[in-house]
């Protein structure tokens, strides 16, 4: 259980895709609903983020650019099983978001 903040901007969105669109190499005609997290995390920022922002802006951190707060899944959808064109079963785990948060 990580520490995260639920933000109004960071939302769960969904798109209807073919499994082949995922680019994982599976050859199949199956489809899925892919859910992902998107949106700004500005309201979740702390003094830490503000300081990092200032230091990066003033080029005080050389080439280092530490990660900022971002909108990520904090829980994943159930596994997805499908049959490929060679009639082999595959199961995808942690492939789609269930819940989002700024982490």
């Amino acid at each position: 259980e990580g520490i995260y903040v639920q933000s109004r901007g960071c939302l769960l969105k969904e798109v209807h895709l073919n499994v082949t669109d995922l680019g994982l190499g599976y050859q199949t005609k199956e489809e899925l609903i892919f859910r992902y997290c998107s949106g700004p995390c500005a309201e979740a920022e702390t003094n830490y983020d503000k300081i990092l922002n200032n230091l990066t802006h003033n080029k005080k951190l050389d080439k280092d650019t530490p990660s900022r707060t971002c909108c990520r899944p904090i829980a994943f959808d159930d596994d997805l099983s499908f049959l490929d064109d060679s009639v082999v079963y595959h199961t995808l785990k942690k492939h789609s978001a269930r819940k989002c948060g700024c982490v």
Binding site: G23, L24, G25, Y26, Q27, H90
Partner: protein, 586 residues
């Protein structure tokens, strides 16, 4: 149907719990014809369980016996189920009656047991329909493509089997029933197919097809559960598997030996199957018998035994319903030897720790079963100096728990760099688990390449599998690398391929879909074969559930967490020629 001319059928209805309509019906005791006892009224339809359905289904059970049956006796008898569809309407007039309905009842395909008394088995007249069409003359005949012992009796319009049937001659008769309907002006002919199945009984004795003796030699494989030899017993009858308690064509087998050694060592297992005879296509049973070892045989066991096995078809009514099978068994003792007295292996001085040097195996070791052979290395020169002994620490031997191979591998790469370590001589000792058999051979491990004092091997070596690009891979010194550098396997095939791109310490053993005894010493050596963790990206797991059997694009691993993904720009796109051209252009 009768089983003999002496049988006299007595028909009656049988009620487990008398329904409200029980009194409406009556069955003729000698003919088995079902009659209405009374005229059905509209009130009868709605009398019980009122529903809005236009049809109610009434079920009636009938029994038949050689003598009169009292109501209470019928419960234990086999019953025929009669279903009657009770329609909330009056009978259609003859002009509205479909001729197909008039001619043929709704019927199932009949079964007749072989070797039984001939007789009538199906009444074709539709009594309810004929009653509304008294002016029509309906007659029946039966036809078939090949000669078949079936006919329609002239006066009764019953289908009759005219002779006892033999399943071993024909399992199925495909008949066509022909119905001819005559009016004063018109003759109409209708046909319907009828398949008559012949049910089997045990009327054939088992037989052998030439071979009654199996010669069995047990030598290298002497594992408990191992099967040897095979003898087949044929039976023209069928063997039913359902219901399980059915005793038809039941075989009882007995091992005819009082020798306690045979009884505690051997068992005979059987399996049965069904095949179709050619060209008639009649099914028959095939029973196959195997000799099975009940325990692991000791390596020194050396004897010959003769095992007789009695197979009895207990339900065959004739005299010769049994056959005797013979297993002529020779058990040879096992010897262990090395094929070569000395063997030479070469290892690069740059090889990393866990690099595989070679394999050791006593003769026929792959066929061994039921006992284990373990290998170890000994330094040949017992009075060797401490420095020589430290050189010999370079190589070690390991063995998978289920394997008969010994794998030589680099246990310590530091001595390989030292100039004073030249060639390493060992004795490989192979010993059978009960220490009764032991053999040894000499091996010489040659160190290839220049001694290089400066290679620092003390740092923790990492896995070749971490590298995602050919250039990084081939420049990297990874765990298990035989030449000191990792090797790149370029991928072939689209989608999820067995031949994915990956970086490996030794392309002979990694990835080969098998986590061998050396690789399993440290999962970082070849995580592609050995990982047990979930893999991210398009992939297929190995057969054992470990490792990556097939992957999409390039598969790489950090420790034992593997990823398979297609790189957007494959570095194989720009080969050496292309690089030259790009460099020139710049």
């Amino acid at each position: 149907m009768q089983d003999s001319a002496a049988e006299r059928p007595h028909f009656s209805l049988c009620w487990a719990r008398r329904p409200y309509y029980a009194s409406w019906f009556h069955m003729d005791v000698t003919t088995g014809v079902l009659y209405l006892n009374r005229t059905l009224e509209p009130a009868d339809f709605s009398s019980q369980y009122p529903t809005s359905w236009p049809v109610k289904r009434l079920s009636v059970q009938a029994v038949v016996s050689n003598s009169f049956i009292k109501g209470s006796q019928c419960a234990a008898k086999r019953k025929a189920l009669i279903t009657l569809d009770f329609v909330n309407a009056t009978m259609p007039v003859c002009a509205e009656t479909d001729l197909k309905e008039l001619c043929f009842p709704h019927t199932y395909n009949p079964h007749i047991v072989e070797n039984r008394f001939p007789g009538a088995f199906r009444q074709f007249r539709r009594l309810t329909r004929l009653a509304v069409c008294p002016n029509l003359t309906v007659s029946y005949s039966v036809e078939s493509d090949s000669p078949a012992p079936f006919a329609v009796s002239e006066n009764s319009t019953e289908l009759v089997v005219t002779a006892p049937l033999d399943r071993e001659e024909s399992e199925l008769y495909r008949l066509v029933m022909v119905c001819t309907v005559r009016t004063e002006t018109l003759i109409t002919r209708l046909e319907t197919p009828l398949d008559v199945f012949v049910d089997d009984e045990d009327d054939n004795a088992p037989y052998l097809n030439g071979t009654e003796t199996a010669d069995v030699v047990i030598s290298f494989n002497r594992t408990k559960g191992g099967t040897f030899g095979s003898l087949r017993v044929f039976d023209r009858d069928l063997t039913t598997i359902f219901p399980k308690d059915k005793s038809h064509n039941r075989y009882v087998e007995t091992l005819l030996s009082s020798d306690p050694w045979i009884k505690e060592t051997f068992d005979i297992k059987s399996s049965f199957s069904e095949r179709k005879t050619s060209p008639a296509g009649i099914r028959e049973s095939v029973h196959e018998y195997y000799l099975v070892l009940k325990r692991n045989l000791h390596v020194s066991e050396n004897r010959s035994v003769y095992i007789d096995y009695f197979v009895n078809d207990t339900t065959y009514p004739g005299l010769e319903g049994a056959v005797v099978l013979h297993f002529n068994v020779t058990i040879l003792p096992v010897q262990i030897n090395f094929a070569n007295t000395t063997q030479e292996f070469t290892v690069s001085r740059r090889a990393s720790v866990y690099a595989q040097v070679g394999r050791i195996c006593v003769e026929n070791c792959l066929e061994f079963g039921g006992f284990r052979v373990t290998y170890w290395l000994e330094v040949l020169d017992k009075n060797a100096s401490a420095s020589s002994l430290s050189c010999h620490a370079a190589i070690s031997i390991t063995q998978a728990p289920d394997g008969m191979w010994g794998l030589l591998y680099v246990n310590d790469s530091e001595p390989l760099h030292r100039p004073e370590c030249q060639d390493l001589r060992y004795a490989v000792v192979a010993q059978e688990e009960f220490k009764e058999l032991e053999t040894s051979t000499q091996i010489q491990v040659l160190l290839d390449g220049e001694a290089e004092q400066e290679i620092q091997d003390n740092q923790q070596l990492l896995s070749c599998a971490e590298k995602r690009q050919r250039r990084d891979c081939e420049a990297f010194r990874g765990l298990g690398a035989t030449t000191g550098r990792c090797l790149w396997r370029p991928g072939a095939g689209k989608g999820i391929s067995d031949h994915y791109s990956t970086c490996s310490p030794d392309l002979r053993t990694c990835p080969d879909g098998f986590c061998d005894a050396v690789e399993s010493k440290d999962v970082s050596i070849c995580p592609q074969d050995c990982t047990t963790k979930p893999v991210t990206g398009g992939h297929e797991r190995g057969l054992s559930g470990n490792g990556v059997r097939a992957g999409h694009g390039t598969c790489y691993c950090y420790t034992d967490k593997c990823f398979c993904e297609k790189e957007d720009v494959e570095d194989v796109i720009c080969d050496d020629m292309c690089k030259t051209i790009v460099a020139t252009a710049l």
